[in-house]
Assembly symmetry: C2
């Protein structure tokens, strides 16, 4: 059983303090991961580490930079957060190892991402737990652009033929118009009014974009809050199940 687990940047960092790990939240998440039986790939977001640096250098998933010092600043900040996550997991006996997208992933000039899967697949086969993250990567014609943790999740889930995807963010699931957690989403149209038009308003990876990408993926995906991480990793389907009808 191979599971791709996304830990939202806002789950493991203190959102309003620059480059600050939320130690308590990270410890809780690491405890849950240490108890998991599945073969796990962990992907974390940027939170208060990556986003301020990316904004300062005006770099996004479509706007690039050729300034190597800027690229390094974003990448090093993400490296600090990645080290904190890897360390929290290793402290609990998890054989976590870092995988840095700048080293392995790249984009061609129409924005298509290449993220070779061999290193992660080999790590998994040897019992290691790869821990990767949103990062800045080289893109043909643009210098370097942001590769989001969300895009990494769907890409790796597809390449590694994952059985399940878990998206742990600060909300307890995908919410309807009345703020209640939607139990299951099988197609985008039935929730479009609650989520808004993902094409027009959602280029930064908000919930509509996440849901659309997870539906396209086809792998059963659960969207849930930090309190449900242990339940998800023990096989439950907390929060919202996003899975198109087969």
């Amino acid at each position: 059983m191979t599971t791709v687990l996304k830990l939202g940047g806002s789950v493991v960092t203190a959102k309003d303090e620059p480059e600050t790990v939320d130690r308590e939240a990270l410890a809780d998440a690491a405890d849950a991961v240490a108890d998991a039986d599945d073969e796990l790939i962990v992907v974390h977001g940027g939170g208060s580490f990556g986003h301020p640096h990316a904004a300062a250098h005006a770099v996004s998933d479509t706007e690039g930079t050729h300034d190597a010092t800027g690229v390094r600043e974003i990448h090093d900040a993400m490296g600090e957060l990645n080290s904190a996550v890897v360390e929290a997991l290793q402290d609990r006996g998890v054989s976590a190892l870092p995988v840095r997208p700048l080293s392995v992933a790249s984009r061609d000039d129409d924005g298509t991402t290449t993220f070779p899967g061999e290193p992660i697949a080999t790590m998994l086969g040897e019992g290691f737990v790869p821990v990767t993250h949103g990062d800045v990567v080289a893109q043909a014609g643009a210098g370097a652009t942001i590769l989001s943790g969300d895009e990494i999740v769907t890409r790796l889930a597809r390449q590694l033929d994952a059985n399940r995807v878990g998206v742990c963010s600060t909300v307890p699931g995908v919410l309807d118009d009345d703020g209640r957690v939607i139990d299951r989403i099988s197609d985008f149209e039935t929730v479009a009014s609650a989520l808004g038009d993902s094409e027009a308003t959602d280029v930064t990876g908000g919930m509509a974009g996440k849901v659309r990408a997870l539906l396209e993926l086809g792998t059963p995906a659960s969207v849930f809050g930090p309190a449900e991480l242990g339940a998800f990793l023990s096989g439950d389907r907390p929060g919202t199940l996003v899975h198109r009808e087969q």
Copy 2:
């Protein structure tokens, strides 16, 4: 003109002091790289950073480990040296970016290395200077093993169709029985007596193994000392030219 430049670990670190950069030697090397016109890929060795940690965990290019904390210790030490090299280059206006082999490379169970070339090729196309290094990488059946800087040099030179290879170490070239620099080596047999039998005595990447691998590569390679780095990068062929007859 694409050049793969190996900076020996002993060139940029203080060999007898654990995890100590030789700041003066690194500054000289970085000055020379900053003056180069070629499209460059820089590969550095481990020196006093990688080797002590690899030895402490009994990890080599053939002996692996499944201890993730050990893997991380070796990898983090190499990351510190890599950061120092990238920073020295960026300080001189070189658009250097780190490429960490643990993230991108892996080995199958017969030891064959996969090192996808897209990220480095994309960086080169955008004017960045990839800076990579000997590292520990996941290997099927063995956990994680050492991928030497020397193997990375020949692998990347082949994949990226490099025009030249430069190997800068602490000796001024390949030396004959009398300690004089050999001007040119076109086949291994003529120098075998001076270098020793590479098969039997040289599993750790000594000079005989380097020469044999560079001859097999087919790309013109120069082996020279730090004083000749500038000359090499301006197009000269200092030290020993290793290149088989075509």
